[in-house]
């Protein structure tokens, strides 16, 4: 799953595979490869176990967590119901503070706005704080290609994201971008960048990264961040980072650009008291992220640092399509990653199997919605529907419901083959009719004899194979329950 970095290229040149626009190669094929990758499995297990344990500990120490969760859900509901008004309010507030606002329908619009801005500023170095929204639209690659004459150096500054960028890799988790890489691989990547063999210990690797990125922070002409939250009432952008890169990217360069999905708004500043507590606890098991940073417009007169030019890009990129539909709740996500950490599918496959910027349960939901169902038709099935994601979600998004609704939508839109529809119809009739049920049970037991050589049959033959390609077929009991009942158990 690793892409080798071509030799003799500029350090930060972004050649990473596609974000949300590429076709998602079958999840099943990727997942099958991933499940066999033991190193990957160990890495994912290490990360998810630690994250889940941390989350549980700090949430248990917060007795009001259930109430907060419900409030978070209601605040998001209220936000989406009046999103146009809140967006207008946000724009007015930012402009009132001397900032600029741009409404971007698509990723293309975002790229053009930032490219033109970089040209006007004569920018050379752009530092970025980790942002899934910019990953989604492949901002780095497109800026480098579409504005090649500017020769921009675009540097990711989150340690994990930077290492991924150097390796020509994409993040595999919303919060832990390189959890799929072990220390050996990270040492290789950073040694190549350093031009010398670095020792494989965290202290040495981290110190090298700090030194190298410090140069970039200080040299940056433009800083780009995403937004964890935007406050409509005040025009404030909240970003949370543990490393401090989010605060550096917004404090040192003369220009700060925010790329924010329109769903990231909350109406009032006090709403943040609900969200910052839930986000840190759910995402990383912390009471509060180290740097919870609130930026409102450009620097004030008399300030020496902070951006003198502030730009807010409000990006739609397919999000508004979900408003007022049965899938609206997918927009309530605050990108904490908790659903990934508890998902039995994600824990086996890791993030890259999902073939999209967003992985895990939330990825399985929003990728098909934002991309269109055809390209990502495997994803709604990349779930055991166990509901662990919904239990873990700090905003209470019923992810398992949404996955079912997506499957339903596929059948209605004819994305799923007719055979599956027929099979389920047959199943329904069988379950409704006791006589038919008994007969099919007998038939099944006869039919499985040749298949069940050792334990459970693994796959079904012929056209039925599609069902068992990604599922194990359970073995039918030798005696049906109805017979056992008759015999007095």
């Amino acid at each position: 799953m690793e892409t080798k970095k071509p030799a003799n290229r500029r350090e930060t040149e972004d050649r990473r595979p596609e974000g949300l626009t590429s076709p998602v190669e079958g999840f099943n094929d990727r997942a099958r490869r991933a499940v066999r990758d033991e190193e990957l499995h160990d890495s994912v297990e290490l990360f998810t176990n630690k994250s889940v344990a941390g989350r549980n500990a700090v949430l248990n120490a917060l007795p009001e967590a259930p109430e907060l969760r419900e409030r978070a859900y209601r605040i998001k509901q209220e936000t989406m119901a009046n999103l146009d008004r809140h967006l207008g309010q946000m724009a007015d507030a930012v402009e009132g503070r001397g900032g600029n606002v741009f409404f971007a329908e698509t990723g293309e619009d975002v790229v053009r706005y930032i490219g033109d801005l970089a040209r006007r500023r004569g920018a050379k170095v752009i530092t970025k704080s980790k942002s899934m929204a910019t990953e989604e639209i492949e901002l780095n690659r497109r800026l480098e290609e579409d504005y090649a004459d500017l020769d921009l150096e675009i540097v990711e500054t989150d340690l994990g994201e930077w290492i991924a960028q150097l390796a020509g890799d994409t993040p595999s988790h919303i919060v832990g971008p390189i959890l799929h890489m072990n220390r050996r691989r990270i040492t290789e990547v950073l040694s190549e960048t350093a031009g010398e063999r670095l020792p494989p210990d965290v202290e040495a690797l981290g110190s090298f990264a700090r030194r190298r990125l410090r140069e970039k922070f200080l040299a940056a002409d433009i800083g780009i961040t995403g937004a964890n939250f935007g406050v409509a009432q005040t025009g404030t952008i909240a970003t949370v980072t543990n490393e401090g890169n989010g605060r550096l990217v917004t404090s040192v360069p003369p220009v700060h650009v925010v790329v924010m999905g329109i769903e990231k708004l909350v109406p009032r500043f006090e709403d943040l008291s609900v969200f910052v507590r839930l986000l840190a606890r759910s995402g990383t098991g912390q009471k509060l992220t180290v740097y919870t940073n609130f930026v409102t417009g450009p620097r004030a007169p008399g300030e020496l640092d902070g951006a003198e030019e502030f730009h807010l890009i409000l990006m739609d990129n397919g999000r508004s399509e979900l408003l007022g539909t049965p899938f609206e709740e997918a927009l309530y996500c605050i990108r904490c990653g908790a659903c990934l950490n508890v998902c039995p599918v994600y824990r086996q496959t890791g993030g890259h199997a999902y073939g999209s910027t967003y992985s895990g349960p939330i990825g399985a939901v929003i990728t098909p919605l934002l991309k269109g169902g055809k390209e990502a038709k495997d994803l709604p099935h990349a779930s055991s529907l166990c509901g662990a994601c919904w239990e873990a979600c700090p905003v209470g998004i019923p992810l398992h419901d949404l996955l079912l609704k997506l499957r339903n939508k596929q059948v209605q839109e004819g994305i799923t083959g007719r055979a599956q529809g027929l099979a389920f119809k047959g199943f329904e009739n069988t379950m409704k009719n006791p006589a038919l049920y008994r007969i099919s049970g007998k038939a099944g037991r006869l039919a499985q004899r040749p298949l069940a050589k050792a334990g459970a049959p693994k796959t079904l033959p012929g056209p039925l194979g599609a069902w068992t390609n990604s599922r194990d077929l359970p073995k039918l009991a030798p005696k049906p329950f109805s017979q056992l009942w008759k015999e007095g158990i």
Binding site: L46, V202, R210, E270, V276, T284, L304
Partner: protein, 222 residues
């Protein structure tokens, strides 16, 4: 490309598709619903603040007077073998009186005003010194406001960061601190700064002092 009016019109049109009522996300998955519960009251805010900060790998101390606070700052600077300290240009740090003894000890002091290029100063300094608007006991958090004389870089770029906070500035909880900024106009920057900068991106191993200061000291006065 849409202008603002078109863009918002489209959004409005979609939210008015109506008829659909989102499901209510029930809370049964977390805990049974009964009386709303709240975290226990923070008994002794200064003590709790120091405890939380230490747990995060920061260093906290409570002193009785400004003189003691000054001595503590000087000892941190001495222990770190610092050559240059950069500090906020605020009344309270003038009154702290560290500039003169530092100068005598051969340590340069840069004050955050009239700087030709702040990057030069903040990027070279070994220690950053500031006050805070508030501190939060339950999380060990400093609430830092930006403004003239109060550079963000002072608290970010130097590897050692020292903050001097009066005991009466300590709030109990995060919601109380958020409340302070609700409704009113906000400074261009407010940062809730909680412990040393850190990263866990390499095999979940903790690396302290990733991009911001890894060495954080808070002196509570009073």
């Amino acid at each position: 490309m849409a202008d603002r009016a078109e863009f918002l019109q489209k959004v409005r049109h979609r939210t008015q598709r109506g008829r659909y009522k989102p499901t209510n996300a029930p809370d049964v998955a977390w805990t049974p619903k009964d009386e709303p519960r709240h975290s226990p009251q923070v008994e002794d805010p200064p003590a709790r603040f120091l405890e939380e900060l230490e747990a995060l790998g920061g260093h906290g101390v409570r002193v009785a007077s400004v003189d003691e606070a000054r001595d503590h700052v000087l000892s941190v600077v001495r222990e770190r073998g610092a050559n240059l300290l950069v500090r906020w240009d605020v009344e309270e740090l003038e009154a702290l009186g560290v500039d003169e003894p530092l100068g005598r000890a051969g340590v340069g002091v840069a004050v955050w005003r009239d700087l030709e290029d702040f990057r030069e100063v903040a990027g070279k300094a070994d220690v950053g010194l500031s006050t805070a608007a508030w501190a939060v006991a339950e999380t060990g958090t400093l609430v830092l406001e930006g403004g003239p004389g109060m550079g963000r870089s002072v608290t970010l770029l130097p590897p050692t960061y020292v903050a001097v906070v009066r005991v009466d500035q300590i709030l109990r909880t995060v919601p109380e601190a958020i409340e302070k900024y609700s409704g009113g106009p906000l400074p261009a920057n407010v940062c809730f700064h909680t412990g040393p900068s850190r990263s866990g991106d390499i095999e979940m191993s903790l690396f302290v002092g990733m991009h911001g200061p890894g060495d954080v000291h808070v002196i509570l006065v009073g």
